[in-house]
């Protein structure tokens, strides 16, 4: 089998993507798959069309890899790829849209409002921010409507810090998602489909040493403690897994995804977001979950890639 691993791209997460790509490449080669890594640049389409791979593994994070656009182009080329199709990918990538779908399916997600920066200039920032605080309360989580790796995200515990959080969020995106901050334990559930429908791998619990799972905490080994499986009571763990699977299905995803949740002190579960191109770096959650399940990353990926190749 011949696989092209796509990594790099022009998004804010290029560096993370290159690391994910190399990890996927190594894992696939270990199990005997012929794999090469390519960037999403002008050389890509000629290469894919002249030397068609059996499948493309999208290790691109950020807009190109996750907003569905590149997947649409691969569909135009008739090249099969791993992961959700263009439509589902776009839906999951846009956090406000994804949250709306989750809510429609009665999957718990924190209350939110999504606003482009234009609304603030038209209606007056002070008035709009006042309403947000009055309605959603404090603390709040402010993050770009589209994006990952915690970039541009801020926890706001005091209303006076909200304007600055908005400004730094709008440096990353035109639209901000402001949601009620859910207190609790950060948990990520990786979902893979090895041929018999989506299954959840053991939940991974995230304990950042400084309390915030920001960019540094995500990608500096030593700054975060991960527990795999998460230290949850059996009943809570079951509920977390069921919720994650519901989220994956409700968004029409396939092959693999990672669902990020918060488990409250009372065992309640809230879905924060769903990733269609989960990180695969040394400190990423999906590879950790694979290991916790007693599986081999290469073996898992090759099965997913085979399924994708079969969609030719």
């Amino acid at each position: 089998m011949n696989v092209v691993v796509l990594a790099g791209g022009l998004s804010y997460e290029r560096d993370v993507s290159l690391r994910s790509g190399r990890r996927v490449l190594d894992a696939l080669r270990t199990v005997g798959v012929e794999a090469e890594m390519r960037d999403a640049d002008v050389s890509l389409l000629p290469a894919l069309l002249s030397d068609r791979p059996d499948a493309v593994f999208i290790a691109l994070h950020g807009s190109t890899g996750e907003d569905g656009s590149l997947r649409g182009v691969l569909e135009l080329c008739g090249v099969p790829y791993v992961g959700p199709d263009a439509f589902a990918s776009r839906l999951a990538w846009d956090k406000p849209s994804a949250k709306a779908v989750l809510r429609e399916h009665h999957i718990p997600t924190p209350d939110w409002v999504a606003l482009p920066h234009d609304r603030f200039s038209e209606l007056g920032a002070v008035a709009v921010l006042d309403r947000i605080v009055a309605r959603l309360g404090l603390p709040l989580m402010v993050k770009p409507a589209q994006g990952g790796s915690g970039l541009g995200a801020t926890v706001v515990r005091d209303a006076s810090a909200l304007p600055a959080a908005m400004v730094s969020c709008f440096a990353y995106d035109q639209t901000a998602l402001i949601e009620r901050y859910a207190e609790g334990v950060d948990v990520a559930v990786s979902i893979v489909d090895l041929g018999e429908g989506p299954i959840a791998l053991p939940p991974v619990e995230i304990v950042p040493s400084n309390g915030v799972y920001d960019y540094a905490a995500r990608y500096t080994a030593g700054l975060t403690t991960w527990h795999a499986p998460a230290r949850l009571a059996d009943a809570v763990s079951e509920s977390v897994v069921a919720t994650a699977l519901d989220a994956h299905k409700s968004l029409g995803l396939r092959d693999l995804s990672r669902v990020d949740l918060i488990v409250g002190p009372d065992g309640s579960t809230n879905v924060l977001e769903v990733n269609v191109s989960p990180g695969m770096t040394e400190t990423s959650l999906l590879p950790m979950a694979v290991q916790a399940a007693g599986m081999d990353l290469g073996e898992v990926l090759v099965q997913i890639v085979r399924r994708a190749a079969g969609r030719q």
Binding site: L10, L129, A164, V207, G222, T225, Q291
Partner: protein, 416 residues
Amino acid sequence: MSETGGTTLDDYTDRYAHRVRGMTASEIRALFAVANRPEVVSLAGGMPYVAALPLDTVGSMIGELVAQQGDTALQYGLGQGMLELRERICELMADVGIDARVGASPDDVVVTVGGQQALDLVARLFLDPGDVVLAEGPTYVGALGVFQAAQARVVHIPMDDEGLIPEALEEALVRYRAKFLYTIPTYQNPAGVTLTEQRRERVLEMCERAGLLVIEDDPYGRLGFNEEAPLPLRARRRDGVFYLSTFSKTFAPGLRVGWILAPHAVRDKLVMTTEANILCPSNFAQSVITTYLRTMPWREQLKGYQQIYGERRDAMLTALADLMPEGTNWTRPGGGLFVWATLPDGLDSKAMVPRAIAARVAYVPGTGFYADGSGQRHMRLNFSYPTPERIREGVRRLAGVVEQEAAMRAVFQEAL
């Protein structure tokens, strides 16, 4: 992976030396990962335009060198560096007034792995944890890294268009008992300003009076455009000034060859320190540079660099004047590689980086050039590497980014 204790994915967490505990993945560094894609106009680098070198001829020269002198060029060498190179370095320094009259001798030159190792040697020799170093504000980011690794405290001395401000230096000399003054007096990185003739003497007098050692870093002194740079500080004093320079900007940074000219007594300690540190600088790289200086028209080549960079500096200054929004200021360097720009009040160049990356332009935020995290309103722009057309396009994009950021700040101004 433990099921109960969890993992941090780093089994060495508790064993690291205290000084490296603050090292973490950086959001800003990650954002720069796209800067080398062709879609992005990078004004962020500090790279010389080595494509201007006659690469075929240099290639043949290196081939012949290995064929004819490979047995020495590929061998270990002296910790102090090759004698012929040190002699040629003295010829170079004599061009700018650092000659036998002020005590320059090949015996007192130590060849280093780029100017960076010269800085590291100085820090290893002179700095204890907690020591104070005076440096221009802003200053070279690589020097800050070295001083921080030595756990020294950097106190910045502000500059204006004429370089280091003597009154500010005087104040710092009274207030702090510093180990040395680190200065890049000519075409400073990142500010692009040059310490004027008049101020050079004043600064030297002040330091002499205070008994303060001066570390003069001069990578750019020979990269003046249509002007002769003032003579280096070391050309004016036999004692009290250590002189550091490099072939990175005048020839090629990939070879990693620099040097330090130090007093005789210190020279031995430098050699012992470098031997403990790297054993010896690359004999191969030294042989390449020695042969280049001996056989090739390097002065002409240097003029080529000066001309190219001069045109690019002009392109940048013109583009900045034509395109940048009101309230933005910048320096007008007479040489070197960089322009230092100051944004309108209230803007933060570091916070603006993602917006710039989205607009496909990159720069270095000013905060990297200060030990205390200040410099938010500033940015360093490089003109040596991109072509004049790319520079103008980069500035056009940057101007748009500054305008958007200013508009965004204005929206939230009342609430901030």
